[in-house]
């Protein structure tokens, strides 16, 4: 996949703010476990299409924001998002990113690692979530990915002018 630059300065920031809003949007209690990892998906997307514009420091800082929002231990999501972006940047050159299934494979791997590390940290600090509910978000994230990936094109520089 060739490098695509953002449509305007701050396009990445805007997309992250939108993902952040989606993350804190109030939802029904039955659906909350199925909330996709919007921010992780956003970072994966930018890591795939625009590796030179993706900043690890930015991802780390957004993670810190999520930590203060969730009340989780400071640094947990910061580490998580850094790992998400880093893994994406590392693996994008090893896979054919235009192939849909290889994309899903990468997504599965990256999100799995991210959630597993979060689970470890939760376990160490004594807040282990019970049951399988913790992993539901992987499936909702994978399901929403094609749509989200398509929507994110709004933030890309347009090749043809109308």
């Amino acid at each position: 996949m060739e490098e695509i630059s953002p449509r305007f300065t701050g396009a990445i920031l805007l997309s992250v703010v939108v993902a952040f809003a989606l993350t804190i949007l109030p939802v029904n209690d039955e659906w909350i476990l199925f909330r996709p990892e919007w921010l992780a998906l956003t970072f994966i997307h930018w890591g795939l299409v625009s590796p030179n514009k993706s900043s690890l420091v930015f991802a780390w800082f957004v993670g810190l924001l999520i930590d203060s929002l969730y009340g989780t231990i400071m640094g947990q999501h910061a580490l998580g998002f850094t790992i998400v972006l880093f893994l994406t940047l590392r693996m994008r050159s090893r896979l054919l990113m235009d192939s849909f299934f290889q994309q899903l494979f990468l997504l599965f791997l990256v999100l799995g690692t991210y959630l597993l590390i979060n689970l470890w940290i939760l376990g160490i600090t004594g807040n282990t979530p019970e049951g399988w509910g913790y992993w539901y978000t992987v499936f909702s994230s994978l399901l929403i990915w094609p749509l989200y990936h398509y929507y994110m094109r709004l933030y890309h520089a347009q090749k043809k002018s109308f």
Partner: protein, 283 residues
């Protein structure tokens, strides 16, 4: 690569600092105040706008009817309050004759829930009042007559309230039927508590009501907490496994009462001259 390693190390240092010493509270509060609260406010805006418009356009007759009913209700409450005050004064007199310590009395203020935790594994909510209104960390929150939780962190204009059902939360409770104590610990699941340290010899059955015991001085005593819905015992365990449902329905509550505990006697002296204030200020 180097950047990644550095960031990972910083994250781990942060986690250690936060976990061991709680040193990063100012960072957390700063981020919440300046970056998260505005976004939260914006996301919540459509909801509030919708309810505002609904109220704005609701029928005039309906409103005046509600107003009349509320006025009548205020009258009833005022009369009831008067009676309560004479009883309270009598109680104080009797207590002073017995030279018992004065009972603790509370002041209340009503707050609205701004947002529910987006983290599915921690049960907390953000309310629309903070240190500017006298809210402090550890303050008790009620929903109606029942205990809702306590304040976890606070900024000038918002506060995070940890619900009873949060996995980190515990409250000492007393069985209304037998008077025996237990510890009601949150499970992290909605409307579900677990009673810990219930010995096998303890008299407990499904349907038992538990109220706060007041031990530990944080929660006021005798407020309803939970009702037992299952009691199980595995042979070999030292304790029974007891599940309970809190009286507060956490999925439906929109308003929370914050309480301040004030000294009873000084409060009574001031109310002898002035009408009672229900909308509390800080102590």
């Amino acid at each position: 690569m180097i950047k990644f390693v550095i960031l990972a190390l910083i994250s781990m240092a942060f986690m250690t600092l936060d976990y061991r010493k709680n040193r990063l509270l100012p960072v957390r509060t700063g981020l919440t105040k300046f970056l998260i609260y505005p976004v939260q406010y914006t996301v919540d805006l459509p909801y509030r706008l919708a309810s505002f418009t609904r109220e704005f356009f609701s029928d005039h007759d309906e409103l005046s009817k509600a107003n009349r009913e509320l006025r009548a209700l205020v009258g009833v409450y005022a009369a009831r309050d008067q009676k309560y005050h004479s009883i309270a004064r009598e109680n104080q007199r009797l207590r002073s004759q017995l030279s018992a310590t004065p009972a603790v009395r509370e002041k209340f203020t009503l707050t609205e829930i701004l947002s529910v935790s987006s983290n599915p594994f921690s049960k907390n909510v953000v309310i629309n009042k903070g240190t500017d209104d006298g809210i402090f960390v550890g303050q008790v929150a009620l929903a109606g007559n029942n205990i809702y939780g306590q304040t976890e962190s606070v900024t000038p204009n918002s506060a995070v309230i940890m619900q009873l059902t949060d996995a980190k939360h515990a409250i000492h409770v007393r069985n209304v039927r037998t008077g025996q104590g237990a510890l009601a610990v949150g499970t992290g699941k909605i409307n579900r508590l677990e009673l810990k340290h219930v010995e096998t010899s303890m008299d407990i059955q499904t349907g038992d009501k538990f109220v706060s015991s007041g031990l530990g001085q944080l929660f006021p005593p005798d407020f309803p907490v939970a009702i037992v819905d299952s009691v199980a015992y595995n042979p070999g365990d030292s304790f029974m496994k007891v599940h309970a449902t809190p009286f507060t329905d956490f999925s439906k509550t929109r308003e929370i009462l914050m309480i301040w505990r004030a000294d009873y006697s000084s409060e009574l002296e001031s109310t002898n001259n002035m009408p009672e204030q229900t909308n509390g200020a800080s102590k």
